[in-house]
Symmetry: C2
Subunit: 210 residues, 2 copies
């Protein structure tokens, strides 16, 4: 046998990720994916059962966030900024999720789950208030996805042109604000300025009961 079934399964998965990432769920056709993988469309069915199941496999994505609890809270923003900018460029599954989630409920749910179960714990480490931590995690997601959307999907010129260092430099304080900044309008300097060693700000009056 020239190819083992695992080989072609991987080839299909790789092609699927690429197609889903660039075309979204509806425009990415089984036929195109099969053609990219150099096999017959029927094989895709044989190995994955249906387009939905193939998508589910292709959108498998792990944030891959290591234990961050040891780090000082005021550096978390930068650490996350660096992590994300690297992550979303080398794991196509991230783009699959982002592009697809807009029209595919399953993909949207996955992003919600990531926010709730991966990001929220990290935020909770610097903000004990559970309800507030959830909101902070959601706002953090809005920062990350908003930027990725403009840079990689909408391809807004000036945002595309930024170097990765510039991206990190821009994103770090924005994420830091989500983590330890105030949630109301006042943007007190000590909550984000780099020379601050203040404890994480989780003023209880900053958020309404959600």
């Amino acid at each position: 046998m020239r190819r083992t079934s695992q080989d072609t399964k991987c080839a299909i998965l790789a092609a699927a990720r690429e197609r889903f990432a660039t075309d979204g769920f509806e425009r990415a056709t089984i036929r195109a994916i099969a053609a990219d993988a150099g096999i017959d469309p029927a094989m895709v069915m044989r190995y994955f059962g249906s387009k939905d199941k193939l998508f589910a496999a292709a959108a498998e994505f792990d944030l891959g966030l290591p234990g961050l609890s040891a780090l000082p809270p005021e550096t978390l923003g930068r650490v996350l900024a660096e992590h994300f900018t690297r992550r979303w460029e080398d794991d196509e599954a991230f783009m699959v999720l982002l592009r697809t989630s807009v029209t595919n409920e399953e993909a949207a749910e996955r992003l919600r789950v990531i926010s709730r179960e991966k990001l929220c714990p990290i935020v909770t480490a610097v903000c004990p208030d559970a309800a507030q931590a959830q909101r902070r995690a959601g706002l953090l997601v809005s920062q990350v996805l908003g930027f990725a959307l403009c840079r990689y999907i909408l391809r807004i010129g000036p945002v595309v042109d930024m170097t990765r260092d510039e991206v990190v430099a821009w994103l770090a304080p924005a994420l830091q604000r989500c983590l330890t900044g105030p949630l109301d309008g006042a943007w007190s300097p000590e909550s984000v300025s780099p020379d601050s060693v203040a404890a994480p700000m989780c003023a209880p009056e900053a958020v309404a009961a959600g």
Copy 2:
């Protein structure tokens, strides 16, 4: 005649906006739109020529930003935050654009144009450096779209639960940073703190040549 052609044309357009906004371009079918408008699918063709042309008409969108040059620069963030939160809730075309732009190049181009030709002039008023103003406009778009994405499309729980006042309070400083904040990592207090009356910060060293 019971209905004038303008009437049905409007009915079709309204139905189209709703379908495009909730389903995206591919999933929104001419048949469904026609059914919503209470007429035959053929009428849609008769009045708009093709699905693409219908979409083009449905995605007609004007930011509707009044002259802001009279306002003090440090209040622009809040003004824009209030404007956007109101705008994207009562003009369905905004959601049409956002949801569709992810898989439809024409819609993406429209957002790029809005960034370049509507937002950029506003930024230029508080930041004379042209290249930098473009980048600031792009970052501003990433803030607005990122939030709208999480709140209205991904429906991330904690972000959906925010009241409109809370949204404005959160967004205002974020937008203000895009307008007058530093573009590198340092987040100096005077660039965003509310009691600041400092001139708009457009430090030339803050951005690399892009």
